[in-house]
């Protein structure tokens, strides 16, 4: 039985390693920043995920110890990874993409990044300053 679990855990770690490698290779191989962004999102999902499952199994089977730390790592990854990707995508759009090259949103508006007045925080700050003085 121990051999069986050893094989399962090793297989999961190899799978995690392979996906991590493919993600890094994609970062080198893909042609432009927007497609490159797709590579790291892979490494964090199945790559890290299967290593975490392997770790949980290892502690449950061989150390007789329930370890759910790994679920927290998954949770934090799922919270942070999309936001980082979103910021990188926005910065890239700001530098290299014109509004005409992209599909339009439904309705009359424009994507938030191209609509100069969409950020009202500066205006609100001015108003607050005026109210103070």
């Amino acid at each position: 039985m121990e051999l069986f679990w050893e094989i399962v855990i090793s297989a999961l770690m190899v799978i995690g390693g392979v996906f991590g490698l493919v993600g890094s290779y994609g970062l080198v191989k893909l042609p432009d920043p927007m497609t490159r962004l797709h590579a790291p999102t892979k490494a964090t999902t199945v790559g890290v995920g299967s290593v975490l499952i392997a770790s949980m199994l290892y502690f449950a089977v061989f150390r007789d110890d329930l370890s759910l730390h790994e679920l927290m790592i998954t949770l934090f990854l799922f919270l942070t990874a999309p936001i980082t990707a979103h910021f990188i995508a926005k910065a890239n759009m700001h530098r290299d993409w014109k509004a005409e090259d992209l599909p339009r949103p439904q309705g009359d508006g424009q994507w938030a990044i191209y609509e100069i007045d969409s950020d009202t925080s500066a205006e609100e700050l001015d108003e607050a300053e005026e109210a103070e003085s």
């Binding site: 996906f19 493919v22 290779y25 994609g26 191989k29 893909l30 042609p31 432009d32 927007m34 497609t35 962004l37 797709h38 590579a39 999102t41 892979k42 964090t44 999902t45 199945v46 995920g49 329930l66 370890s67 759910l68 730390h69 679920l71 927290m72 949770l75 799922f78 919270l79 990874a81 999309p82 936001i83 990707a85 979103h86 995508a89 926005k90 759009m93 992209l102 599909p103 339009r104 949103p105 439904q106 309705g107 508006g109 424009q110 994507w111 938030a112 990044i113 609509e115 969409s118």
Partner: protein, 163 residues
Amino acid sequence: MLKRIFPHPYLTTLLTAVWLMLANAYTPTSLAFGLLLGIVIPMLTAPYWVDRPSIRNPAMIVEYIAVVLYDIVVANITVARIVLFMRNENMRPAWITVPLELSSPEAITVLAGTITMTPGTLSAELAADGHSLLVHCLHAPEPDSVRDEIKHRYERRLKEIFE
């Protein structure tokens, strides 16, 4: 009275679970301390949660997580094959517009996060009026089918959870 002690029951449950996992010890002591945090933190922060999201259908969350996890695994394999075996010239990256029916900010955030975490699609931008999402696809010969899949698989379920 119950509402004053538990202004946000889901947050209480989540905080207790997070504390137990951070401590990585499942004893009555850490459960008690976790519950204490889970009760005190929502009480102290309740004034700042003016428009807190309401969850209509908690059972749907389980189904949603299962669907997303399954899609992540399948899509990972597809994208790994694209990266390894497809020549860059044959790849068809595409931008697509996903018109949104969801209106609550929490639901849109979850949808955008889900789109990014499922490999092959990446949510890049929200329309200024908040009614569309700009998605970048790694390889999409038929952009319309990707859009329909996002709307059918994720948005429909999120709509049931949040609205």
